[in-house]
């Protein structure tokens, strides 16, 4: 039997080191190939023989690198699962691996259950029969675990949201199905009501997704990069936020040449703070590599703190740094505000970097740094709802389902009233099925029950 293509992080969870994502199944090579950018241009993943490796990046939908990875290709039946397999060795640690996995799942690959690779291997005849029982133990254990998890997730506080979501979707389905199966009693469906219900579902989906992302942030943390031209005070800021003298600080521009990482806690959020080499054009080879790494770090970070020196005005170098930043994920700190010579004011900043939040402060005098932390927190959590609204930890798979549902509802809302009812029903049952996967119970049957509950039907 042909197996579904599945993926999961295969290395045990933990900080640092290399994490491996295993992707197994007939579509593994093609689908990973679609999100992989090789370092050497004309080497493509699907040209590789079994047991060959290739270096490059897993990229996001815009083609931006998520992480540098080494990919190993194994062709069936010469792999653990005896299916075509790609192993993605993520260099950026667990966090980057999770982001890569999400990108893989975004290609329509399903996240594997614990033990599923072993199951594939067994079903493909890779393991001998004595191992069958061991595989079954894993399946039984995981179904129990999944159940516990589902029960925990769906109990009490969070269940309200899930149920509201299901309820509206089932209601929309019931309106359509009742009109189809009992035309004489029910008549035409109320399209406005269906549209209203779908909008509500979409709203709740958005809330859940946001809550999931927020929980994920508190659990796994985010990457924040400090950047700017040399000598603006980047290392000083890292030292202050971490509460110790981690990085060397001197008045010599170009002091920091390597990437310096430090885990700090900003308003309860675990932040992996990265101090970079000051970005400038340089002849020094060591420094040049440092600058390159800084740019890489910027592209991977969730947020950048962009430092300027108030005494030097806004220079060409500053503008160059700004070019490599994502303006939606940037906070500007105008440092050294304690000094008398002020070459930068609000107007200048607004003119050069419109719309970016700006704080004037001094690392040395510890001014504006509390405001900076508030800003960092707000920006990381922006769009993710308020604390206490919904609390929910989502697996990559669950997140994927919610995202799919949201996109699907959007397209359904667009065609509402334009396609015939039987086609609309196809879309709605797909949605129901996706949602069923989230909560583990069949919603289609519920929709039929709902018809009998809410509509007076029958001859």
């Amino acid at each position: 039997m042909q197996q579904e293509t599945i993926a999961a992080i295969a290395t045990p969870p933990g900080e640092g080191g290399i994490a491996i994502i295993r992707v197994s199944g007939s579509e593994a090579i093609a689908k990973v190939g679609a999100i992989f950018k090789p370092r050497i241009k004309d080497r493509a993943l699907n040209q590789l023989h079994g047991y060959q490796m290739i270096l490059g990046w897993i990229v996001d939908d815009q083609g931006q690198p998520i992480d540098e990875c080494l990919l190993a290709v194994m062709r069936k039946p010469h792999s653990y699962t005896a299916e075509d397999t790609v192993e993605i060795h993520c260099h950026g640690g667990v966090l980057a691996a999770r982001q890569c996995l999400e990108q893989v799942l975004g290609q329509g690959i399903r996240e594997a259950y614990p033990g599923e690779f072993t199951q594939q291997a067994y079903l493909n005849g890779r393991l001998d029969a004595s191992q069958a029982e061991a595989v079954i133990e894993i399946i039984r254990a995981r179904s129990k675990k999944a159940l516990n998890l589902a029960v925990k997730q769906l109990s009490g506080y969070n269940s309200r949201y899930i149920h509201r979501l299901e309820d509206r979707l089932i209601q929309a389905a019931a309106l359509i199905e009742a009109s189809i199966d009992f035309p004489e009693e029910v008549g035409e469906p109320d399209y406005e009501e269906i549209a209203r219900l779908l909008a509500e579902v979409q709203h709740h989906l958005g809330q859940l997704l946001a809550a999931g992302k927020r929980a994920e942030i508190y659990r796994s943390g985010v990457k924040v990069v400090i950047c700017g031209k040399p000598n603006v005070g980047k290392s000083s800021l890292l030292n202050w936020l971490s509460g110790r003298d981690r990085a060397i600080v001197t008045e010599i521009p170009g002091t920091t040449r390597d990437i310096i990482e430090e885990y700090v806690n900003i308003k309860g959020i675990p932040v992996r703070l990265i101090d970079t080499a000051g970005i400038r054009k340089t002849e020094d080879r060591v420094e040049a590599i440092g600058v390159q790494m800084a740019q890489q770090a910027i592209s991977e970070a969730a947020l950048a703190i962009f430092l300027l020196d108030i005494t030097s005005g806004i220079t060409l170098e500053d503008e160059e740094v700004f070019h490599s930043l994502n303006p939606d994920r940037t906070i500007i700190l105008i440092n050294k505000d304690d000094l008398v010579e002020k070459q930068i004011d609000h107007e200048r900043i607004q003119a050069c970097f419109p719309g970016i939040p700006v704080i004037f402060g001094s690392v040395r005098e510890e001014q504006g740094l509390n405001e900076l932390q508030n800003r960092v927190e707000a920006m990381i959590l922006s769009g993710l709802g308020r604390e206490g609204e919904v609390e929910m930890l989502l697996s990559a798979r669950q997140q994927q389902i919610l995202q799919d549902c949201q996109e699907h509802i959007e397209s359904v809302s667009e065609i509402l009233g334009q396609v015939s009812l039987d086609c609309l029903a196809v879309e709605i049952s797909e949605l129901l099925e996706d949602m069923s996967e989230l909560t583990g119970k069949s919603l289609k049957a519920d929709a039929i029950e709902r018809i009998f509950r809410d509509f007076c039907i029958g001859k």
């Binding site: 079903l123 029982e133 133990e137 179904s143 189809i180 039987d422 007076c456």
Partner: protein, 625 residues
């Protein structure tokens, strides 16, 4: 005294909608068949509503026809009104519905049965089925006749230990005051089958001459000629109207004032009633916020004044029924000809069946129709057909016929019956089908006629008509794909402008053009781009083109679904030896013994972990052998 009365290949017990199809199918497939009924005067009786079809049911009637069954042809013969319903909701859920002349329906079916070579009709009460684990041997009637046979199909409807309830009047009886079958239940139980008890009901009938139609809304049939069977002539017919009225607050008051006398509230009725067909008193209580319910007054035939009050199922006492009727606009002076009643009956719990409708305990014993806990003439006839076919195939030692959920509503129906737990009579709904867009009433022949031919049920007349249609369809489709137009085409440009349709940007085929919602196939014929063809061919082309996207989407889903359906489980599997199954799954699998992994996954109580466990064990067993 029991005597030897003869021998048959197949004996069918009960000549309702299921029994007639079963007997005709078996005989047409070459089996010597006996059809036994309690009353020849009540063959193919419609003891409830005088109509056939509607959503999901119409598709079933067409499927029966496509396979070579009788219901569609018989309905066309007896039809006094036909309407297409759900017309604005898309081709997949459009459904034909006919009002039938009950008497003509009965006579036409008797006529067909009598003319069928190899089929004998018998009026008798079968009391006993002689059988053991190795198979059925004979049936014995109340008067001692013993008929040897190789297969038996039980299609006894709601007659098994039937009990009629009207208020506090209760007596043993079958539908429509027929005698019930009091002994057969016992025989089925002795053979090892478990029976349950269900309830259903019917409304009172009234005299047309006592109705004031001026207070009602007329419901005429469609003007264009319609038909169920692909073989019936498509010609206009004389139609009789139905009438729409409604209950009033006074009606509901009468019900509430007498609710203490209603059997369902006094506890006299214990059997479960269907929620899609609630009694009127149930509707009044459960939907108390509604001050009015629709009621349709439907003719029962051309040569009778009896009319059916659709929406007024009731087992209220007779005097209350009369008061209720007379509180309804247009029925102020009504004369009630038959009293409404509830009926309780034994049914065979269908999880004891294989997907072929053969019982698992006794090889060669099949059950079909309402006796399997379903409701509806169409559901009954469909099961009867499948059971009759499989009984014949069994006798002939051939491979069984099982329709998949992706092939037919009949597949959905039987698969649901066997795998899902039902606590009310099962009614088919289009929403129970996953692949509704593929299971349309317009393509039942394309889905099933080849299968019917293969098993030997589709005769030459039907086969030739079908083959001709198929050829014409394919030729027309080819022409439409191959005929293309460029943006410069003057005739096309002016045509599109006239239809308010966007001008062409690229070369486009006729097939693609038809996808545009504003373009109709008739216009393409008018313009001379497409050859004139019979309406069913044009309709088919139009649906296939316009819905191609969604149809392909469902085809993809079907591919996935069928992978698991084709993964067969060995018939001799010992579930006790399957390591790692949950207790509930073990019991269910042992009881139902699914044919495939797909079927196993639909059984209530079997979860995905159990399916994985099963897969691994199957692999293990395969390697050992």
């Amino acid at each position: 005294m029991v005597y030897d009365a003869g021998s048959y290949d197949v004996v069918v017990i009960g000549a309702g909608h299921a029994g007639c199809e079963a007997a005709l199918a078996a005989a047409r497939m070459g089996c010597r068949t006996l059809l036994s009924t309690l009353s020849i005067e009540h063959i193919a009786l419609m003891p409830c509503n005088p109509s056939v079809g509607g959503p999901a049911k119409a598709q079933v009637v067409r499927e029966i026809d496509a396979l070579g069954g009788e219901m569609a042809i018989n309905t066309d013969k007896a039809c006094i009104q036909m309407r297409m319903i759900n017309t604005g909701k898309g081709p997949a859920v459009q459904a034909l519905r006919a009002q039938a002349d009950k008497h003509q329906y009965h006579w036409a079916m008797v006529d067909t049965l009598l003319q069928q070579p190899g089929l004998d009709l018998l009026m008798a009460e079968v009391e006993k089925i002689e059988a053991d684990q190795s198979g059925v041997a004979a049936v014995v009637t109340r008067t001692g006749a013993r008929y040897l046979c190789k297969a038996v199909v039980v299609t006894s409807g709601t007659y098994l230990k039937g009990r009629i309830i009207i208020g506090d009047v209760i007596y043993d009886g079958g539908p429509n005051n027929q005698v019930p079958a009091m002994k057969l239940s016992q025989s089925l139980m002795e053979l090892g089958l478990t029976l349950g008890r269900f309830k259903t009901g019917t409304p009172p009938r009234i005299n047309r001459r006592s109705v004031d139609f001026s207070k009602m809304i007329e419901q005429p049939g469609d003007e264009r000629p319609l038909r169920f069977s692909y073989l019936s002539p498509l010609e206009p017919r004389q139609q009789i109207s139905c009438w729409l009225t409604h209950s009033t607050p006074l009606t509901h008051q009468i019900v509430m004032d007498n609710i203490h006398r209603a059997p369902m509230f006094t506890g006299v009725i214990k059997g479960r009633g269907p929620r899609y067909c609630p009694s009127f008193e149930d509707k009044v209580v459960r939907f108390s916020h509604k001050s009015s319910h629709q009621l349709f007054i439907e003719p029962e035939g051309r040569n009778t004044d009896e009319m059916y009050v659709q929406g007024l199922n009731t087992s209220l006492p007779e005097d209350v029924q009369l008061q209720v009727l007379r509180s309804i606009p247009g029925l102020e002076n009504v004369h009630m000809m038959r009293t409404g009643y509830a009926i309780e009956y034994d049914y065979v719990i269908p999880s004891q069946l294989k997907l072929s409708l053969e019982t698992r305990v006794i090889p060669g014993l099949f059950t079909a129709g309402q006796v399997n806990g379903t409701s509806g003439y169409e559901e009954a006839a469909g099961q009867g057909l499948i059971a009759g076919i499989n009984a014949a195939l069994k006798v002939q030692d051939r491979e069984v016929l099982i329709l998949k959920r992706s092939e037919a509503y009949l597949g959905v129906l039987i698969d649901d019956l066997v795998n899902k737990e039902n606590d009310e009579p099962y009614r088919l709904l289009t929403s129970r089908a996953e692949y509704r867009l593929l299971l349309r009433q317009d393509n039942a022949d394309l889905r099933l006629t080849a299968k019917g031919r293969e098993i030997g049920l589709v005769d030459d007349v039907r086969w030739e008509a079908f083959s001709l249609k198929l050829d014409r369809l394919e030729a027309a489709k080819k022409q439409m794909v191959e005929t293309t137009f460029t943006p410069g085409d003057a005739k096309m440009t002016s045509f599109l402008a006239a239809q308010n349709s966007a001008p062409l940007k690229d070369r486009i085929s006729l097939w693609e053009l038809l996808r545009r919602p504003e373009i109709e196939i008739g216009q393409l014929v008018e313009q001379g781009w497409l050859e004139e063809a019979p309406p069913d061919i044009l309709e088919q082309l139009e649906i296939q083109s316009k819905y191609e996207g969604y149809i392909n989407k469902q085809r993809e889903q079907v591919k996935k679904f069928e992978k698991l359906e084709e993964r067969r489980i060995p018939e001799d599997i010992d579930y006790g030896e399957v390591y790692g199954l949950s207790n509930e799954a073990l019991q269910k699998l042992q009881a139902i013994r699914p044919r495939s992994i797909g079927q196993a996954s639909r059984i209530s109580g079997v979860n995905p972990a159990d399916i994985n466990v099963l897969l691994i064990n199957l692999e293990k067993a395969r390697r050992k052998s």
